[in-house]
Amino acid sequence: MLKQIPLADVHRALGAKMVDFGGWEMPLQYTGILDEHRAVRTAVGLFDVSHMGEIEIRGPGALDLVQRVSTNNAAKLADGQIHYSGLLYEHGGFADDILVHRVSADHYFLCVNASNQDKDYEHIVSQNRWDCAVENNGSQYAQLAIQGPRALETLQKLTPAPLADIRYYRFRDGEVCGHPARIARTGYTGEDGFELYIAPAHAAEIWNALLEAGRDFGIRPCGLGARNTLRMEAGMALYGHEIDASITPLEAGLEWIVKWDKGDFCGRARLEKQKAEGVRRKLTGFEMRGRGIGRDGYEVRAGGRPAGWVTSGGPAPALNKNIGMCYLPAELAQPGTAIEIMVREQPVEAVTVPIPFYRRPK
């Protein structure tokens, strides 16, 4: 039995194509992935991401526990500030990638990936030597993402919170449609936007009000399909693709979330060893040069020999190219290397390029 997000009936009424995503029944698309993708790049799109998990850590030792399980330096966060971080196992592989919100000195709010939330919770609890209260609160929150250049104007119609004052990777607790909401200026599309954490009971009302508020701007409800093409263009990792328990942040190009000066954390010893020895494989972007699309899992060859695998691949609608990300031996991972992607047993020419593929215009 698939887990139901609070808005499943609302999505069906909008004509969404629903799919099984890690055990949740989720909308894949409404009007079409390309249409939804363009709406987010040029106007505004609304995503229901209620499948995402929320884990809260409270107590005087909350910072110590967050520091222990994650790679970024949470001691640098102020109240109302957020950062991206890695939740690592002792062997240095990813348990998950997460957003850490500092609510207060003794309360941290973690947004985690849907299908990882239970194992993340168990992992955090296993490291809890500070008597913190750790709560697995995924069912307490619905999450909506409003993304795109008109996101701020859309959401502003429904909240008295001065949204322009919320800087990137900051949040504020306020109200949307008169209901309590945690309003974070974050997203997974490469555009400006906000993510709302709200009570499931208010999700349908807020969803419908956002669609109405964005109507003049051409808002579109957007599904997982567009979420994937948008995040891929923006070069953002997806758990189970670019990162998983077998991959370290150094291999994934995420050393920037590893703060070596913060003290001990899970996986530190392995990462130090890997840094000293040099990583053998690295994540890199690629663009198809020949006709064909390199998809997730396809073999990558260099000089005719197997060299790596595609982690995510497909069309980049805003760039009009076929792109992807792949793991390659470190010496082949620098931009400009000629590679081949095996598309249905035929090698198709491609070239490595830097990540991200797309940056929003300033």
Partner: protein, 126 residues
């Protein structure tokens, strides 16, 4: 969109229109709707042999790649060049301008195993 009565249909959502010993093959409206935005079509070259029930090419949407299975056996005699530059036509006109290939049938008796328009719509539950 209606399903033309003079086409025959497969369970894998291809159609074929037979005129003399030539069959024009495409994918159904149901197939294009399920695939979503189509961005690339990979087709065989003229002269290639195709076999009933075997893949003759593939269609890629933004999200996924799907094989196209040949309804009948034969030899490819023409490929729709329009789809090389305008694959999105498959979303717009799957039963018309966005046909995929024409083949010369080698075993017309294979047509008997295909569905009529009424059977196909019943199969879809439409």
């Amino acid at each position: 969109m209606s399903y033309p009565d003079n086409f025959r249909y497969t369970k894998e959502h291809e159609w074929i229109l037979v005129e003399g010993d030539t069959g024009t093959i495409g994918i159904t409206n149901h197939a294009q709707k399920e695939l979503g935005d189509i961005v690339y079509v990979d087709l065989p070259k003229p002269g290639a042999a195709v076999e009933a029930g075997k893949a003759l090419g593939s269609v890629e949407s933004v999200k996924a790649v799907s094989d196209i299975y040949s309804p009948v056996s034969g030899e490819v005699i023409e490929v729709n060049e329009l789809l090389a530059t305008a694959p999105e036509k498959l979303n717009e006109d799957p039963h018309g301008a966005a046909w995929l290939v024409k083949i010369r049938l080698s075993n017309p008796a294979e047509l008997d195993g295909l569905m009529s328009a009424a059977d196909y719509q019943a199969y879809l539950g439409e």
